[in-house]
């Protein structure tokens, strides 16, 4: 079972860097079969890489959630095509062009400070730690890996 974990965000916009921060922490676990990607934003060619893995995990900051959430993601039925931003659902939809309909999850971790700056706010770091516990459980369930994380 292979996983692609994608950390999304801009590390120069404070809590927007939650996705890359989570990705780095997961990379430190060195789990077999788990590939880590860090991206500024989602782009269509990730669909090719998604199609090469069995499971997908999106890691991102959230401005709308109060608590860290780990939710299943379905391919999007519609897409906003005015801007360049793509959602996890958009990417999953594009991945289906390669015959891939992969089970996918998104870890959405609340951020509060999106001003210019490096590093997470204390609240975001604390929420990130809680999200990591949920992510570790998810990966253990699906990979069967018993390695302590």
């Amino acid at each position: 079972m292979t996983w692609l974990a994608i950390g999304i965000g801009n590390t120069l916009r404070s809590d927007d860097g939650l996705g890359p921060w989570l990705a780095e922490r997961i990379a430190d676990w060195r789990l077999p079969g788990v590939t880590i990607r860090v991206v500024h934003q989602l782009t269509p060619e990730l669909a090719v890489e998604i199609a090469q893995h069995d499971r997908v995990l999106f890691l991102d900051s959230s401005r709308t959630d109060d608590e860290p959430r780990l939710v299943e993601v379905e391919p999007a039925q519609t897409a906003n095509r005015l801007g360049h931003a793509m959602s996890p659902g958009d990417i999953l939809a594009w991945a289906s062009a390669f015959g891939a309909r992969r089970p996918a999850w998104a870890a959405r971790v609340p951020g509060s400070d999106y001003r210019f700056g490096e590093g997470l706010s204390a609240a975001a770091a604390e929420a990130g730690e809680r999200a990591l516990a949920d992510i570790a459980r998810l990966l253990r369930e699906h990979t069967g890996c018993t390695k302590s994380v």
């Binding site: 916009r13 404070s14 060619e45 900051s61 360049h84 594009w94 062009a97 999106y114 001003r115």
Partner: protein, 474 residues
């Protein structure tokens, strides 16, 4: 160490595209305006930094076209150093820019605008989506993704990363190409040519059936601006700045980048963070000019590579010597992708690319520098003034999307006049307004990321300043 830079206002960092359509006393369309309510601030918060940092800093402006900023910034740095950039570095910078144009145009054509072409503006919402597109045209969908992937591979291969590669620097580039990378790029080419050939054949068939959209999506006379080689060949990285009019008359052919403000003024509107550049001799707001693929094709004499030159001839047979409809931006993008591939094919055979002599070292020799490069969506200016220590005193960036701002306003106005009747926003008009803006492929909100997407907000405002109708989408 944690660093924080406070910039006010900070409450509007998400990108929003807002369109206001103003009606007269008879509820007929008076004009439309496209606003961007996103604050950037790069021109101010980079003040005080060493100019050598600017390629890396300004790359953060955008996650889609960072290479454009890196290249324009490096060129401004070249001028401050007053060095002659080694030929290998010039070639490699060009190569990265072609990769950048490929990936950006592929995103615009196949993914953002593809559903319009392939499924139709008025097709059922239930099928006007990615799945409908993949179901009806799976090959094009896959080819588009792979083509974009090739462009990204070039950027990552040369720069070490896909986004924000800190590779091009004042004086040249950090690393040359390796033989292994060259061979990898060469292996990608046949598949990429097939993708562009397929898209061109499809699009030409589509064009003949959509005369109405061609005549409605921003079809008006204007000026055009782009870089161009001195002999008139299509250019994306160097050369001179050319401005021409709708009749094909050349108004400006200026080899000195420091003169750009002689030709271009920048207007600021109270309701948008997007500046409105204009052609200074005509003034604001009538000095409308367009930049980007359409401008580059309108201003050049030839593409400089055989297959794209054949396509340029056909383009002009279909659209005129100077194409006036903004709808033809899409067609121009396809021809530019073909030209990028042909140029890559040609350049990849050059042994000079592997040379280690790819960066000129020097200290500060000038206090003012301007770098001009062609971003996928148009001409990009980076203008720096520095002190004796090379610290930035003043920065001016003129972004391609801003330069198309006035043209986008006219485009939306034209579409609204055609499709709006009364004081309700009809679905067909909304679809076409979106598509009309997409023709320019504006880059609005790439400097920040947050969960969610950029919504479109359209307001219809009557002669009394009241909101008659409004729609949010996205």
């Amino acid at each position: 160490m944690t660093k924080r830079i406070i910039i006010d206002p900070v409450s509007r960092i998400e990108g929003h595209a807002k369109i206001s359509i103003f009606l007269d006393e008879k509820d007929e369309v008076l004009e439309a305006r496209f606003h961007v309510t996103e604050f950037r601030g790069f021109e101010r918060f980079c003040e005080g930094r060493p100019f050598q940092e600017m390629p890396g800093l300004s790359a953060r402006i955008c996650g889609i076209c960072p290479v454009s900023h890196i290249l324009a910034s490096s060129k401004a740095g070249d001028m401050l150093l007053a060095v002659e950039v080694p030929p290998t570095a010039l070639k490699l910078r060009r190569m990265m820019n072609w990769g950048q144009i490929l990936q950006s145009h592929a995103l615009s054509f196949f993914h953002l605008s593809g559903p319009d072409f392939l499924l139709g503006w008025d097709s059922a919402p239930a099928t006007r989506n990615v799945f409908g597109l993949i179901a009806q045209h799976p090959d094009l969908a896959r080819q588009g993704i792979r083509l974009r992937q090739f462009g990204q591979e070039i950027i990552e291969g040369l720069g070490g990363r896909k986004i924000h590669p800190a590779w091009s620097v004042p004086g040249g580039v950090r690393e040359p190409l390796t033989a292994e990378l060259r061979d990898r790029f060469v292996a990608w080419l046949p598949e990429s040519f097939r993708a562009v050939d397929h898209a061109l054949a499809f699009f030409k068939g589509f064009l003949d059936k959509h005369r109405e959209e061609i005549e409605t999506f921003g079809d008006f006379p204007s000026l055009f601006m782009s870089l161009i080689q001195p002999d008139g060949t299509w250019e994306t990285s160097d050369g001179l700045l050319r401005i021409g009019d709708q009749t094909g008359k050349i108004l400006v052919d200026d080899p000195d980048p420091l003169n750009y403000q002689t030709h271009i003024g920048e207007a600021v509107e109270h309701d948008s963070y997007l500046k409105s550049p204009y052609y200074r001799p005509i003034g604001y707001p009538d000095g409308v000019y367009r930049v980007g693929p359409l401008a580059r094709l309108n201003l050049c004499e030839r593409m400089g590579v055989p297959r794209a030159d054949v396509e340029l001839v056909e383009f002009r047979q279909r659209a005129g010597r100077v194409a006036s409809s903004s709808f033809h931006y899409h067609y121009a993008r396809l021809i530019e992708m073909l030209a990028c591939l042909e140029n890559l094919e040609r350049l990849l055979g050059d042994p000079d690319l592997l040379s280690g002599r790819c960066r000129a070292d020097a200290g500060l020799n000038r206090l003012e520098g301007v770098g001009i490069s062609e971003a996928p969506r148009g001409t990009l200016f980076h203008h720096y003034k520095v002190d004796e220590q090379g610290r930035l005193l003043k920065i001016n960036l003129i972004i391609a999307t801003g330069q198309n701002n006035l043209a986008m306003n006219r485009t939306v106005t034209q579409i609204a006049k055609k499709y709006l009747r009364g004081t309700k926003i009809p679905e067909p008009m909304l679809n076409r307004v979106e598509a009309g803006i997409r023709a320019f492929d504006p880059c609005l909100s790439c400097s920040t990321h947050a969960w969610g997407q950029m919504p479109l907000h359209v307001q219809l405002i009557n002669a009394h300043g009241e909101i008659a109708d409004e729609v949010r989408r996205g």
